[in-house]
């Protein structure tokens, strides 16, 4: 089985990994790098819990091969807070109640971050369009939408 030496930027830090060809980015994050904030909800690109930023774009890490990340830039939920200062999105979800079981939360935050990076003042419809690939079974989404809008307002 072929293995590859890859290097990439993960949450602002240079990283290297040795990965087999078939390993997904999600598997590499969770099992090789042992960074488990990125969740495995379906491994088929259908729930969004594993969403990470690949060169600034939200992708399902379960569908990306680790080797594809050679030379690329990745951000996971662990990379959203800086110097122990939470991202406004993280703070808003805590305060407004957009977190229940929390399993969808990392993916939701990443998709929302990508949205705010591209569109700092989204409407409710923009938020819904950006998060349509992130399923949540607990909150009914109401407080997720409110949280993202509040974070945009505060930033």
């Amino acid at each position: 089985m072929a293995v590859h030496n890859i290097t990439f930027t993960l949450n602002g830090e240079a990283e290297a990994a040795v990965v087999p060809s078939h390993m997904t980015l999600l598997q590499m994050l969770r099992e090789e790098i042992v960074m488990t904030g990125t969740k495995n909800g379906c491994a088929a690109g259908e729930c969004g819990a594993c969403t990470v930023l690949l060169n600034g774009e939200p992708v399902n890490s379960c569908l990306v091969l680790a080797v594809e990340c050679d030379g690329q830039t990745l951000v996971t939920v662990e990379g959203l807070a800086h110097d122990r200062q939470l991202d406004p999105l993280q703070q808003a979800l805590i305060e407004i109640g957009g977190v229940q079981c929390g399993f969808c939360t990392p993916g939701v935050l990443i998709s929302a971050r990508a949205l705010l990076d591209r569109n700092p003042h989204p409407t409710k419809a923009d938020v819904q369009a950006a998060l349509v690939g992130n399923l949540c079974r607990c909150t009914g989404y109401v407080r997720i939408i409110d949280g993202v809008l509040a974070a945009a307002e505060r930033a």
């Binding site: 078939h22 690109g45 399902n60 990306v64 091969l65 080797v67």
Partner: protein, 314 residues
């Protein structure tokens, strides 16, 4: 614009391997173990990730261009509005960012029996279609062959409505019709042989006055395979329809164009009556399964609804 792809890639694919582009379909089949051989990642093949514009104003889209790039490209939105709308209406933002145009065209059927380990259907080495018998409302209404699960390629349907062509490396130019065949062979999702690679999509020069609408009938607000989908392209000039192309998906095991509906629209005034009359023709030629009889009406309504979006008077 031809590209000679290393022979060993083709040979590996020809034995038991599979080509991988965006991976959004393949990765799912890997884990359900419908695909088990080696993977050949062609994502990084040079020269396939660009949209190129020709002197006549037409676009050539590389097979590795993402669905998102097509959906959000302002020039595509202007020149081929229906294609951009269809691309933006499928799956989720994450899938659109990873999925490629080539992969979207060549994905395998989403039939639950094909993807279920307990069933071996035509596409899985068996000789039966399990979707034919039973209560699956997602079946076809144009029964074109032994396999009765609808083709999943929204963009195949869209490109059919745009009369696009594709390059198959080492083989040549094929129409979208030819790419999908006539639906009679239940073992295939498309007519490419193992190892053949789709490299480019060629669009015709855009029609400046074209208006397009896309509607996807699904049971959730977004992120579902279409029950019925429809793409309409119209040119209306002096209150007359001078050009019409209608693509429909979710209704046959290949993407379809409804030429009879197109003809009924031509030279007519685009009012409520025209639209209603033309939409009824979508039912012509349907031969639904017992469980999809009602879907014929759904097809008519979807076509009707999509036409109404573009019809100024209705």
């Amino acid at each position: 614009m031809s590209l000679i792809i290393a022979q060993n890639i083709k040979e590996t694919a020809n034995t038991n391997g599979e080509l991988r582009a965006g991976g959004t379909d393949l990765q799912e089949r890997r884990r359900s173990r419908i695909s088990a051989g080696p993977i050949i990642d062609i994502r990084r093949l040079q020269g396939l990730d660009q949209i190129e514009w020709q002197a006549d104003g037409s676009a050539v889209i590389g097979a590795m261009v993402t669905i998102d790039a097509v959906a959000n490209d302002p020039k595509i939105q202007a020149a081929y509005p229906g294609l951009a709308k269809a691309a933006g209406g499928l799956a989720t933002p994450q899938i659109r960012l990873m999925g490629t145009m080539g992969g979207a065209l060549l994905q395998h059927t989403r039939c639950p029996f094909y993807r279920h380990p307990a069933y071996n259907c035509h596409k899985n080495g068996g000789d039966e279609c399990f979707a034919r018998d039973g209560h699956n409302p997602n079946g076809v209404v144009f029964d074109l062959g032994p396999c009765v699960y609808p083709h999943p390629a929204t963009l195949g349907m869209a490109l059919l409505a745009y009369e696009a062509e594709v390059d198959i490396d080492g083989v040549g130019r094929r129409s979208i019709d030819e790419l999908y065949g006539d639906g009679s062979d239940p073992t295939r999702d498309h007519t490419l042989e193992p190892g053949q690679i789709l490299t480019h999509i060629h669009l015709l020069p855009p029609i400046p006055q074209e208006k397009a609408a896309y509607f996807r009938s699904i049971s959730r607000a977004e992120a579902e395979w279409p029950i019925v989908e429809c793409l309409v392209r119209l040119v209306i000039s002096d209150d007359q329809i001078t050009f019409a192309r209608i693509g429909v998906g979710g209704v046959a095991n290949i993407p379809l164009r409804l030429e009879n509906v197109e003809q009924a629209l031509m030279s007519q005034s685009p009012g409520r009556e025209t639209v209603e009359k033309a939409a009824q023709l979508a039912a012509a030629g349907t031969n639904p399964l017992p469980q999809t009889v009602d879907k014929v009406r759904f097809l008519v309504n979807t076509v009707w609804h999509t036409l109404e979006v573009l019809s100024p008077k209705s």
